[in-house]
Symmetry: C4
Subunit: 308 residues, 4 copies
């Protein structure tokens, strides 16, 4: 096991006996360092929104139609012309090296194997190209945190394009950093550099000392996002642009009017802003407003997809 | 105590001190092997629907009319011309040999003694005829899981008819096997053969090795059920046919239009499909749609009938 | 401490440090024999209605009017011309000798001291006249369980009249005995005779062996109550008659049409019939129907009256 | 550590590791004498209203608008022409010497440092002038419990005016003392004199023995408050008068019609009257009725303001 900046980085490879997400979480809790586990698991403040995200699914049920005469229910779908075996687009998750030394490369392998679509994070522990290669040709999206340094934005968009990303996902809900209490108690800091940021700075001839280790990362982000920022990215890239972090019909329509080709309904899993409603509770209103103009991707509180 | 396929099969006979279902469940938990107990008790996935089935009864209350001038409230009822002392039709429960070596024979005795009606399961641990004989003439129904092998369907319908079954109950809600986590953790497999399936295969001259021990049983079931399947059974049998597993008004009306003479509102006790509403919560809408055309049988979450 | 029929009968006299009902209940639990304590505390079946009775008060709040310019809020009230310092009419409670050897006599003293009104139970551990005398002239009601033996009804009504009772309270909600699980588990039987029933039987020259010890008491009750039963009592007595156990507007109007001069909204504290709504939840509908024709007394779930 | 009247008065000065209010409460619980801690923390009766005050915030969510193009959200506000860096007016809290020997002086320093506004309590452990001086010029309000002794009212209003108070807050919701069970169990009495009352009595040449130690304090309060009482104070002072303890639209309009220049929606934190609704639940109705005629201050159940 490697130790980097005092953090025990897992290199273990073993088969797991996992029957559902809680059992996976329990295993992870045993293995991962406390700070890393709670960064992955935890939300902001008292985690009200994080909990609501899951509880919201108890407020709606799907009625079984037993005489439907369907033998093989179909889970295939497509987005932007991409064929998916399962209707899953994985939300971007930063710094996956915290969980395992193979980080996003292993995730890319897994997502490809299930016929699902991975979204790489700006704050990946692996370079865009490396995680893309690990996906063996499976389609991927790239998620962009807007930086105040527009050259960095362009650098990342170019790298994503080169690596074959099929769409750009702009996260809009982190202009203010969340108040994550567990991270404060654990004094948790990212033990690993953000690979893509390091790549950019090395290219600029900047020292990589302490590059991309958390607080300074957030400081360089855009703390203000409006329609013009979205248009600027859309003008630069020829990939479809999806706006992530939408929680209101108004924002969804603003994003579409700015040229967005997809809406991603998300409250960042309750990980950053606390006190807003469950993501699932706002989905219907947004879907009504969007009215099939563009595809909608959703995250927040999903813990199960019934086995068939 | 007999041990079959590693499973301790209870042969004990003793009087029990049971004051309600939870106290019975507690006693069963002490006596039964863990795998068997949890198969009987448990539901699928996180058991949300199983819990909702019972909780739903807290959302409706019956108002007592104290000046009704009724001295002896009547619990007698009838269905298909059959007189019942109590208005109970027991839902089919598979593999009762797990609980006791006498299995469905003992259940048949008990149901007859209370003036209630037993429904035998396709997956009974006893032959239809044997459990029928144990009922000493009390009326019984036979529940049919549609097989992909229509000869098996006919064989079972013939056996039920011979044994005096008063109606055929077709279960329609198990075209996809439930994700039962406790059974996975316990690595539970039916220790006993399904008597009726064994009977069929022996008759065909097939080896009975491993016959009817769980997964293979499900594999042979119909994974797709429509109106035409119901009509086929109705055409074959001259017994009344009840469609079990109905959770929507639409399916109830489809079943009736196909010739069903009874509707059985059930979500399989939350044992197979999880995430749907409580069975009691959908009953009213179905009853309104059925509008007294055929009798409705209900199961799901019933834990009490007040003593009088 | 006296022991009667195996039951330790408390004779202790001590001052108590009680700040609310839960603290009183905790003290009682320490002191009383388990069977007696649980008879007093417990409800029927799984005690759903018992709990709902108290929870229902959380569903309604009283808005404080801070500029009301009232200095001394008035709690005095009157019923049937009787002046009460506090607006409390104590619900009849059977067999108070279980709690203390002084039984209803001590209760009568306490109710008189607080300016409240005691209702004696048919199944009192003390004679009507004795508990009345202990009240030192404070007004009392007498509660009547209708017996199948109308001579007993008349005997009790005569005794109540002689003892100065101001009204007759007919309990209508116990035509079927409740399924009280704790009493079954504890094998609890009334250790003391019902004084009024014993008085009647001794007067008849009957042996008092086993008189009024529980099951046999209930067996002699009316298991059927209608408007004609109420009229019969009203015809016999010249005291106002209050009908207790009303849970529906229909029954309230039936009782008034039969000549009742008061309605007592109660579900017997959830002690006998379980599964009905909270008593407080049905109060408003009944009050609307009664529309000030007669006074309404309410019990069920009251645990607090704010101190002023 | 000083001990006064048997109470250990904290003099400690140390930096605290506090990440939220629960962690602060836990630290306080370790350090403070039980009686003092529970006086500060606790509510009246079973604390239903105290709990509801916080739960009510779970019933309303604020929708995040992620494309708002706002970089620096503004928390500055003003009231009565006073500029505040944070939109916080601290509710008056009595007897802060219980928590620390520096009492209200330390609080005044802290409130000034955060750009918030302190409201001094009539029942302060420090003189109005001393706590005002500790605020180093930051604006403060003075809260007045109306006394039956109008000379005391005038004395306090004069002192507040001299000390530079910017408004008078009349508390109207304590005409009846709350039933605070923890204080009864702990036999808690204020260990320190109420500084302002002592000041008044010393000026009158009265002995200060036992001055202002709890029960006697309440006995001298007005037990009846109406519009005329408010008018009397407004006539006497030239400071703006805010009416605190409003829980209904009717009382808000009454107060404004009497000349109040501010409404303070509060139920005293559930500390005195229990059983009313959450303060937050009545805010909207009051705000609608007030309709921007005067500013509204709110307290009750606030536990978080998201960090930006």
């Amino acid at each position: 096991m490697a130790v980097i900046n005092g953090y025990e980085l897992s290199e273990r490879e073993q088969s797991l006996n996992v029957i559902n997400l809680p059992s996976l979480e329990n295993l992870a809790k045993e293995i991962l360092p406390k700070g890393g586990f709670e960064f992955i698991r935890g939300g902001s403040e008292d985690e009200w929104t994080l909990r609501e995200n899951t509880i919201a699914f108890d407020r709606v049920q799907i009625l079984p139609h037993v005489l439907s005469n369907i033998s093989e229910p179909e889970t295939k779908t497509s987005i932007f012309g991409l064929q998916l075996d399962t209707p899953l687009v994985m939300a971007p998750a930063a710094a996956q090296g915290i969980a395992h030394i193979r980080g996003e490369a292993a995730t890319a392998e897994g997502m490809a194997a299930t016929g699902s679509l991975m979204t790489q994070s700006t704050y990946s522990s692996k370079l865009i190209a490396d995680a893309a290669a690990a996906g063996h040709g499976a389609p991927q999206f790239f998620q962009l945190y807007l930086s105040q340094d527009n050259d960095l934005n362009k650098f990342l968009l170019d790298k994503a394009k080169e690596a074959g990303s099929k769409a750009i996902v702009i996260t809009t809900d982190l202009t203010a950093e969340g108040y994550r209490e567990a991270d404060i108690v654990n004094d948790f800091h990212f033990p690993l550099p953000m690979a893509n940021l390091e790549d950019y700075q090395v290219g600029l001839g900047q020292s990589d000392a302490g590059v991309g280790h958390g607080k300074d990362v957030f400081d360089n982000e855009a703390h203000q996002i409006g329609v013009s920022d979205i248009k600027r990215i859309i003008d630069y890239t020829d990939l479809p642009v999806i706006i992530k972090g939408i929680q209101t019909p108004e924002d969804a329509l603003l994003a579409i009017s700015a040229g967005a080709q997809g809406i991603w309904v998300s409250n960042h899993g309750g990980r950053q802003l606390n006190g807003g409603p469950a993501s699932f509770d706002v989905l219907k209103g947004i879907a009504t407003a969007v009215n099939h103009q563009v595809p909608i991707i959703f995250d927040g509180g999903v813990r199960r997809g019934s086995r068939f």
